[in-house]
């Protein structure tokens, strides 16, 4: 977290009562949302309610043993994060304490209490290259230079929003290249403001922007069902609800690995410790499909596992999105994954019930919907204050109790997000992954992204997709009949539709996240696989019209090869599909 250097310690208060993560203090002079240090051990907390001379605090650490009478110390500053180079390739807890530094400081694999650490390394120096010269005019948010943060990302050093008023400019008096620590001045302005690499920003407040625009570019994910049927825009919002075991985390991780964002912020909010460990182990090894550098070079991880303090779980999504906004300000496309937003909502519920607030639906606080929409609204495609354009795409996993989508968190999320990827336990049970239900899911970005796909992938992208949707719809209706009377009693053309739909499901929609080739499918290949299935459908219909029995059509030798396109390396896939399409056509035409 941010360690404010200039805050003055205010008057101390005294603990009045302790109940789990909620502590009440008497005579504490603090503002709403100020950070305070609680008890002899100085546990970090945040002011969440003020009533008379009683201040209620949510504590970000375990409170066992804390007793009334112990002191509470205010900092006078709200919960803030440190922003600057060094955030990528890092792993933080919910209040931006680096977990590797904590391990070192605590000398143990277990998380102790009352240990603090700055969010970015204050000692480390970075090689700064100016992009402005003395005499240049700069406004707020303007880039004065950059440092190579990782092999993939140039970290832009910007004039902090607080240094100037909106619309105001100042002249650069001095700017130097060289190696600097994050707190050293790299540029000086004529109004006396000094620009350093490090900025602080309160997490609950969105960083300023000029304008929010309509997103028109897809965030390609390398997942066929997403790119092909339910695309997400850069700057868009998506929700993945699903019961346990349906593959929320695998989908989130696939997106974190393969989405064509510049920066990925991955928030493990109240989830499993081993899952975060897996990310920590895998990401440095895996190459970013865009740059070839290790994925970790573009990734910032925030891990607040389910057994870490519940109040820090409440704050971790804010910490994450504030970091995302900082990179957006530099003009990057950021993708933020929050796994899972339900745990965040539950943290709100837990704190709320300790405060004895009047509960809303299912015990969640009445402000649940407001908090969720506030958070998702921080996503978008923005024009930044420095004139650059950047985006934040937010993908939130939702864990509905019992897989029932009618519960408050899912419902309130669906009112806000424009893309809905519904996970289905029936598909998961038969190990059809990603277990995204093609009938229930939707993307409201489809129309506005179509021009991009038509221009960049194929002219008939939308037609082909519509064909796939129609076939799947028809299949869905036919399946009901098949359940009653069996497949063989259907007319031949409908039997063919079933067979074609089966290939769409097995060869196209299904994708193996663990196979080294299949896990990432570029949009071109997504298009080709579906094209091959459509070729079969067209040719087979002709054969059927010519009187060939459906059994013979579906028995041709080339057909099972459709299932192998996904695992064919990308550079051979085109040739493989060409050949397959030829073979299918030829083998079908010899039948009549």
């Amino acid at each position: 977290m941010s360690q404010a250097t200039d805050t003055t310690v205010r008057e101390d208060g005294v603990i009045e009562s302790v109940s789990g993560p909620v502590v009440q203090a008497r005579d504490l002079d603090a503002k709403m949302n100020d950070v305070v240090y609680v008890g002899e051990e100085g546990l970090m907390g945040e002011v969440i309610e003020i009533e008379g001379n009683i201040t209620t605090i949510q504590v970000y650490e375990e409170t066992s043993g804390v007793a009334p009478g112990e002191p509470v110390e205010g900092t006078g500053a709200p919960l803030s994060v440190d922003l600057g180079p060094g955030m990528l390739d890092s792993i933080y807890d919910g209040v931006q304490r680096p977990l590797d530094v904590l391990e070192e400081k605590m000398g143990s694999a277990f998380l102790d209490r009352g240990v603090d650490a700055p969010g970015i390394d204050l000692e480390r120096t970075w090689e700064f290259t100016p992009e402005v010269g003395a005499g240049d005019e700069v406004g707020r948010g303007d880039v004065v230079g950059s440092v190579p943060e990782t092999a993939s990302i140039d970290h832009k050093v910007m004039v902090p929003p607080g240094a100037l008023e909106e619309g105001e400019t100042a002249e650069v008096v001095e700017v130097e290249s060289g190696n600097f620590a994050v707190d050293e001045t790299v540029a000086e302005l004529d109004n006396g403001a000094e620009v350093t690499m490090r900025q602080e920003w309160p997490v609950r407040e969105a960083r300023p922007t000029v304008d929010k625009q309509t997103p028109t570019e897809p965030l390609t994910s390398g997942q066929r069902i997403l790119d092909g049927l339910f695309p997400l825009a850069k700057g868009g919002t998506a929700a993945i609800p699903g019961p346990f075991g349906s593959g929320k985390t695998v989908t989130q991780q696939s997106l974190a690995k393969f989405a064509d964002a510049d920066i990925v912020v991955y928030i493990g909010c109240g989830e499993r410790g081993n899952e975060m460990t897996e990310v920590i182990d895998d990401f440095p090894e895996l190459p970013d499909p865009q740059t070839g550098n290790p994925l970790m070079d573009r990734t910032c991880l925030i891990a607040n596992t389910s057994n870490m303090p519940v109040a820090a779980r409440e704050s971790c999504v804010y910490t994450g999105i504030t970091i995302a906004e900082f990179y957006r300000d530099m003009g990057y496309d950021v993708a933020l994954m929050a796994d899972s937003t339900s745990r965040w909502a539950e943290a709100m519920r837990e704190i709320s019930s300790r405060l004895e607030e009047m509960p809303g639906e299912e015990g969640y606080p009445a402000y649940l919907a407001a908090r969720l929409s506030e958070f998702y609204e921080r996503a978008g495609y923005f024009e930044n204050v420095n004139g650059s354009e950047g985006s934040i795409s937010v993908i939130g996993a939702v864990s509905p109790p019992g897989g029932d989508f009618s519960e408050p968190v899912t419902q309130n999320t669906l009112r806000i997000v424009k893309t809905f990827w519904a996970l289905d336990s029936d598909l998961a049970d038969r190990r059809h992954f990603p277990a995204i239900n093609w009938n229930d899911s939707y993307s409201l970005y489809r129309d506005q992204l179509d021009p991009w796909f038509t221009d960049n992938v194929a002219d008939d992208w939308t037609d082909q997709r519509q064909w796939a949707i129609d076939t799947l719809d028809e299949d869905d209706e036919l399946q009901e009949i098949v359940q009653l009377v069996g497949k063989d009693s259907l007319p031949e053309d409908q039997q063919l539709t079933l067979e074609v739909a089966r290939y769409i499901k097995e060869a196209w929609l299904q994708q193996n996240a663990l196979h080294e080739v299949d896990r990432y499918c570029p949009p071109e290949k997504t298009y080709r696989i579906l094209g091959a299935i459509k070729t079969f459908d067209d040719e087979a219909s002709d054969a059927l019209d010519a009187g060939v029995p459906v059994d013979e059509i579906t028995d041709i030798e080339a057909l099972p090869r459709l299932n192998r396109i996904g695992t064919t390396p990308d550079d051979e896939a085109d040739e493989f599909v060409d050949e397959l399409e030829e073979d299918i056509t030829e083998q079908l035409r010899t039948l009549y």
Partner: protein, 469 residues
């Protein structure tokens, strides 16, 4: 330490006391009743003038004049390597008539969270000898994999079979000696009969000497159940991370634990969540289940196998639901299979092991393992789908393909899953049964296994034979 005789209210498991000194949250309390018995409790809420205490052993016999002593520390578990072979009650006191425990260390039972950065990702395959688990839902060292069961089903037999048979075969070949697990058994609210079943098996197989048993029986105080799993896990952490043991923690029955949580929540007049369970139950369960795992640079490990009975087999009930969201998969016991006489009656389809993919494959189990299990899952699901259909239209009306899958599903249950509770199958045996079954299907149906493995293991003739029948 000051004694108070200032009890103001007694309600269910809770006692409210006025105190004039600061009392720490979670502190341990001793309450002495009129007849001299001592009850222990824990501080749930503390303010500058009064304290709410949850009493573990029940509030019967406590009155306004009972004296209350605050011990000034949180709940500790005395730990030592000598605990192995011992039987303790739900509060950690020996009940096997053995000598007093001389602790090496006293540890806080509310364990601190493992820093995710310090964890080692679990990927060592544990061979349980049960095909439905090894083949389809593989367990790895450091995983938390619960058994979801229901009343009247033989989940205990499965747990015992796993406790008996679990080994890490990789080490067997490398080190010459298979490393056995130290079993930490935490019983919460199980009946004396069930407890006997476990104890008899432990004694019969000699497993007791590498076990620590915590027994809170059905007639023991319900509130005590909230500390029993924490005592067990504190012991496991000590053995694993101080002495390098590989521990297997079996907790049964988590449903009783959750009932105890609900009881306390109700007594405190908290705003209830779903079905009256407290809103913080997810966090509370996580503080138990997340205490499984491995730590970088440490020898030992904690593998957890909690057992819970789903009320009326409803997997969406809050207890299995929240558990499933925290644990790394689940093994489902199915009453349908049980009545068919399948032992163990594991329904593999809704079962899952999230850590399976990293624990299997070349060098760990066998290269074809992943493909085989995917293919078996698919074919079994396909076959089960056809069962509904066959009830309506009859077998004759089905295509040959459908009939094959129907046969497959039947044989899968009879040959793969139903192995009996005393059979210990190696992973090779499990996979070769898998291939036997897959060989019933035409080769082109096997689209989830790599070609090279089909060439190596698929026995095409078998498929022809079935077709000829």
């Amino acid at each position: 330490m000051k004694e108070y005789q200032t009890i103001t209210e007694i309600s269910g498991p809770l006692v409210f006391v006025e105190a004039d000194e600061p009392i720490g949250y979670d502190e341990i309390v001793e309450i002495e009743t009129g007849d001299g018995t001592i009850r222990r409790g824990q501080v749930l809420d503390t303010t500058s003038d009064h304290v709410a205490i949850q009493v573990f052993e029940g509030t019967t016999g406590i009155d306004r004049d009972s004296s209350v002593t605050f011990l000034g520390e949180t709940m500790k578990m005395p730990v030592t390597e000598d605990l192995l072979g011992r039987v303790l009650d739900g509060s950690g006191n020996p009940i096997d008539g053995g000598p007093d425990i001389v602790p090496d260390e006293r540890r806080d039972i509310v364990g601190e969270a493992i820093n995710p950065y310090s964890r080692e990702y679990p990927e060592e395959f544990i061979q349980t000898g049960v095909s439905a688990i090894d083949g389809m839902n593989t367990l790895v060292r450091g995983q938390k994999l619960p058994i979801f069961s229901a009343s009247g089903l033989p989940h205990n037999d499965l747990a015992l079979q796993i406790a008996r048979q679990a080994t890490v075969p990789e080490e067997e070949t490398a080190g010459g000696e298979a490393s056995e697990f130290a079993v930490i058994f935490g019983a919460m609210g199980i009946t004396a009969e069930e407890a006997n079943e476990f104890m008899d098996d432990f004694e019969r197989t000699g497993a007791l000497e590498r076990s620590v048993v915590f027994m809170n029986l059905a007639d023991d105080p319900a509130v005590e159940r909230t500390i029993t799993p924490r005592l067990a896990l504190t012991t496991a952490e000590y053995l694993a991370f101080e002495h390098g043991y590989h521990t297997l923690v079996i907790l049964t029955d988590m449903t009783n634990y959750c009932e105890a949580l609900r009881e306390i929540g109700a007594a405190r007049e908290e705003v209830p969540g779903r079905r009256g369970y407290p809103g913080y139950m997810y966090t509370d369960l996580a503080s138990i289940y997340e205490r499984a795992g491995r730590i970088k640079g440490q020898e030992g490990s904690i593998t957890q196998m909690p057992i819970l009975t789903m009320p009326s087999e409803d997997i969406t009930h809050p207890i299995p639901d929240l558990t499933g969201y925290i644990t790394e998969g689940q093994i489902l016991i199915d009453s349908g299979l049980n009545s068919q006489g399948v032992v163990p009656p594991v329904n593999v389809s809704p079962s899952l092991s999230r850590l399976m993919d990293d624990g299997i494959g070349e060098g760990l189990t066998r290269g074809d393992h992943g493909g085989v299990s995917d293919q078996l899952f698919y074919a079994y699901a396909e076959g089960k789908d056809k069962r509904d259909l066959v009830n309506i239209v009859g077998r004759e009306a089905l295509s040959e393909r459908d009939n094959r899958f129907l046969d497959f599903a039947d044989r899968f249950e009879e040959e793969f899953v139903d192995q009996g509770s005393n059979t210990n199958r190696s992973i090779e045996e499990t996979l070769s049964i898998g291939w036997d079954l897959l060989s019933m299907l035409p080769r082109e149906e096997l689209n989830r296994v790599d070609e090279e493995y089909i060439d190596e293991y698929y026995q095409g003739e078998a498929a022809e034979e079935v077709a000829a029948d």
